[in-house]
């Protein structure tokens, strides 16, 4: 799949699956279920154990508990999800808090040190993002999917969603954020996945 020169597949007509209600990125298929993809066992994090921390640098931290999260202004998010393993889930509904609200409560405002951040999950998963991609209503810390609490397999009680990027950037069991001056790979980015992961540019793997 180097470049855009496709090999015509003899006898392949395609279009055997129901077509999605609108365009989805190249190479994706329309999935009405919600597959579970995790490289290890499901993390068991209870609401009372869950705590979310932003590393403010120079030894400073700001943390939120489940109760803190519930007391924050909630946003309903209606969005499409695109997974690098080729499925796209359309019109999914999530509920949670805009990451900007956390930055405000941490007193960061526009003064964020570093252009990149590393998200860390309970269990040790990590993924990197540009700060610009989590500001202005692009990233959320969510606790409901489809009107129900997010199940543990799908990252509950609390996960992150960054719907405009491939779904591996949307960390399950989200635990913390730390800012970085320079971009550095997280878990999958060190294992062959693209550093940025724009589904509309098909940035799946290294070299895309």
């Amino acid at each position: 799949m180097e470049g855009n020169v496709a090999v015509l597949s003899r006898g392949f007509s395609g279009f055997r699956r129901p077509q999605p209600p609108r365009e989805i990125p190249e190479g994706q298929y329309y999935e009405t279920g919600f597959p579970v993809l995790t490289y290890g066992p499901t993390e068991r994090v209870s609401q009372s154990d869950w705590k979310f921390t932003i590393d403010l640098g120079e030894g400073g931290f700001k943390s939120w508990t489940w109760d803190d999260l519930m007391a924050m202004p909630q946003t309903d998010i209606h969005t499409d999800i695109h997974c690098v393993t080729k499925w796209s889930m359309l019109d999914s509904d999530w509920k949670g808090v805009d990451l900007d609200v956390f930055f405000e409560q941490a007193g960061l405002g526009e003064n964020i040190a570093g252009d990149y951040l590393m998200i860390r999950s309970f269990g040790g998963y990590t993924t990197n993002l540009p700060v610009a991609d989590v500001r202005g209503g692009k990233a959320y810390i969510v606790h409901e999917f489809g009107g129900e609490p997010i199940t543990q397999e799908h990252g509950g009680p609390v996960r992150m969603i960054v719907p405009h990027l491939y779904f591996w950037k949307s960390a399950k069991w989200v635990e913390s954020i730390r800012f970085m001056d320079e971009d550095a790979p997280g878990f999958w980015e060190a294992n062959g996945y693209h550093m940025y992961g724009d589904p509309w540019k098909e940035q799946r793997y290294w070299g895309d």
């Binding site: 180097e2 090999v7 395609g14 993809l37 290890g40 066992p41 294992n191």
Partner: protein, 236 residues
């Protein structure tokens, strides 16, 4: 496409002769991309079944999914000599080679055996003696992929054992496991292996969830457990 082998009534192995074969770690996969005359494309990932010691070719073992888009194309249309567009090898966390040691517990459900088979073939080709146990769940004996080869590998007496469980049709006189994988079964095979250095679980979501949770509850550190899950395909 160099050759096509029927494994079971639902599963075939497709041997691809690659213009640029690259070394890989057992457990990795290739992406396959199909292109229709009007430009429509469909992509899926399939695990490599061969070990990295088999050079120049890779085997992709594919189960046909009713109403699917790519697997029925492979099963019903692809012929030896056809060109197939692939990209890989891809993957990292779900890989094992001899240097990672063991003891090694492999748990496969249905076509989830495929990446585990790459590990077993690598283990055998390199005369690796890491104690290894495969727990393999199939609907019936007729659904067991690589059946003869697994029998031969376990008969070799080099520290590899296979334990089958059948969930739908149980052969006459069978005295092995005859149910879906559950906590007791995982506990029994884990005990037989003793210490578990690494565990790899591949299969349908519910199967993987059950097996992985059982290992975690048995005290195996999550970092030692790697999973690969497939399904649902909600709209086929």
């Amino acid at each position: 496409m160099e050759s096509i082998t029927v494994e079971t009534y639902r599963v075939k192995t497709f041997r691809l002769l690659l213009p640029l074969w690259q070394p890989f770690r057992p457990g990795m996969h290739y992406d396959v991309r199909l292109t229709a005359p009007d430009g429509y494309q469909a992509q899926r990932s399939y695990s490599i079944a061969t070990g990295p010691e088999t050079r120049n070719v890779v085997d992709l073992t594919v189960e046909t999914i009713e109403g699917g888009e790519v697997s029925p194309y492979f099963h019903d249309i692809v012929e030896v000599g056809d060109q197939v567009e692939v990209r890989g090898p891809i993957g990292g966390p779900f890989t094992w080679d001899g240097s990672m040691g063991g003891p090694l517990l492999l748990i496969g459900g249905g076509s989830g055996i495929v990446p585990l088979m790459s590990m077993l073939r690598h283990r055998n080709s390199t005369a690796c003696l890491v104690p290894t146990l495969l727990l393999y769940s199939s609907r019936s004996p007729g659904n067991v992929i690589y059946s003869d080869e697994l029998d031969a590998l376990s008969a070799a007496g080099n520290g590899f054992e296979v334990e089958h469980t059948f969930t739908r049709k149980i052969p006459d006189g069978w005295n092995g496991f005859a149910r879906r994988v559950d906590v007791e079964m995982i506990s029994e095979v884990s005990d037989r292996l003793g210490i578990i250095g690494r565990a790899f679980i591949c299969g349908p979501e519910g199967f993987v969830e059950t097996a992985a949770n059982a290992l975690v509850n048995a005290g195996i550190a999550s970092e030692r457990i790697r999973t690969e899950r497939f399904g649902p395909i909600g709209t086929r």
